[in-house]
């Protein structure tokens, strides 16, 4: 049975909200204007993004880059810290209580929305193409844009879900095996 992508997005809505909040936090951090913000809309999947932030541009392309990819770090870290301690009782000890399952869902939901969107990629491209930008920034930014588009295609194959599960489940397992 194929589950439509928008159903997955509805079920993991906390991740979308944290993603947009992360964009907004980085905008505020760099003093960028925010013109509109939508934390989550159920019309996603019908030609609409699940959420968005319309913001101004920084004079520093590196700041624009951080605004666009900030959610990757925020969602990954927050998702891992929330979900990993819950994954251990469930998968290692084979027994988790209701709180563990809730935290696991919350952690995976947040981590799986870590990937920047193609809208974020366009924002990065616009930032580095429209003005004088140092080669060092371009060297970092172009591969990131490529990875974002790759991630967007890969999400058709649930790679974003796999990423969320890996962050929450695989990461603590690796840490445990290293320490054991």
């Amino acid at each position: 049975m194929i589950i439509p992508g928008f159903i997955i997005t509805w079920l993991s809505f906390p991740g979308v909200i944290v993603h947009e909040l992360a964009h907004a936090i980085f905008c505020r951090l760099y003093g960028l204007d925010i013109y509109a913000i939508k934390y989550f809309q159920f019309t996603t999947g019908f030609g609409q993004p699940a959420g968005y932030v319309v913001h101004g541009r920084s004079e520093k392309p590196s700041q624009d880059l951080m605004v666009s990819i900030g959610p990757f770090f925020v969602n990954t870290i927050v998702g891992a810290v929330i979900g990993a301690p819950a994954a251990i009782p469930i998968f290692t000890f084979g027994k988790g209580d209701a709180l563990d399952w809730f935290l696991l869902w919350l952690g995976v939901s947040i981590a799986m929305h870590a990937f920047p969107s193609t809208g974020d990629a366009k924002s990065i491209l616009h930032s580095i193409q429209s003005r004088q930008v140092s080669p060092a920034v371009k060297l970092v930014a172009y591969p990131i844009v490529g990875l974002i588009y790759l991630g967007s295609v890969a999400s058709i194959f649930w790679v974003d879900v796999i990423y969320g599960v890996a962050v929450v489940g695989l990461l603590p397992t690796l840490i445990v095996k290293l320490l054991a």
């Binding site: 925010i34 913000i37 101004g56 929330i82 301690p85 919350l106 445990v176 095996k177 054991a180």
Partner: protein, 132 residues
């Protein structure tokens, strides 16, 4: 006409509620993470010790885990196996009693049957319905 920037970031009640829940969950995770990793690595180490024939340290390591995770079949089974190797048969039987009437996987059933078979070999005269 150029759009006006938002003077204040609008945060609807449901976003505020989710942010609060996420923050609380994050703090819970920060508090739980070291202990969870410590217990899981203790369990992993104990499993390796049992496989390597070092049952005594495995049994010592698993005993507190049985107390902190009394509903974990994995921990109880591994502890029972360690007890058998250290000839702590009472400890092994106590773990077997936990599984009475419970659904188990095929793998767990195999491990349980192996323990029961070994106990039967060691104590062939033991009454089957002895209660204490």
């Amino acid at each position: 006409m150029a759009p006006e920037p938002l003077a204040k970031l609008p945060i609807p009640p449901f976003v505020l509620a989710l942010a609060a829940v996420t923050l609380i969950a994050f703090l819970i995770g920060l508090v739980r993470f070291p202990g969870a990793v410590r217990e899981a690595s203790t369990y992993e180490r104990a499993q390796k010790l049992v496989s390597a024939g070092q049952a005594a340290p495995a049994e010592a390591a698993l005993a507190p885990l049985v107390k902190s995770h009394p509903d974990s079949k994995n921990v109880r089974l591994t502890y029972a196996e360690a007890c058998m190797r250290t000839q702590n048969y009472r400890g092994a039987v106590e773990q077997l009693q936990y599984f009475e009437g419970k659904e188990v996987s095929e793998e767990d059933e195999r491990r349980l049957n192996a323990i029961v078979a070994e106990l039967d070999r060691k104590f062939p005269e033991a009454p089957k319905d002895k209660k204490k």
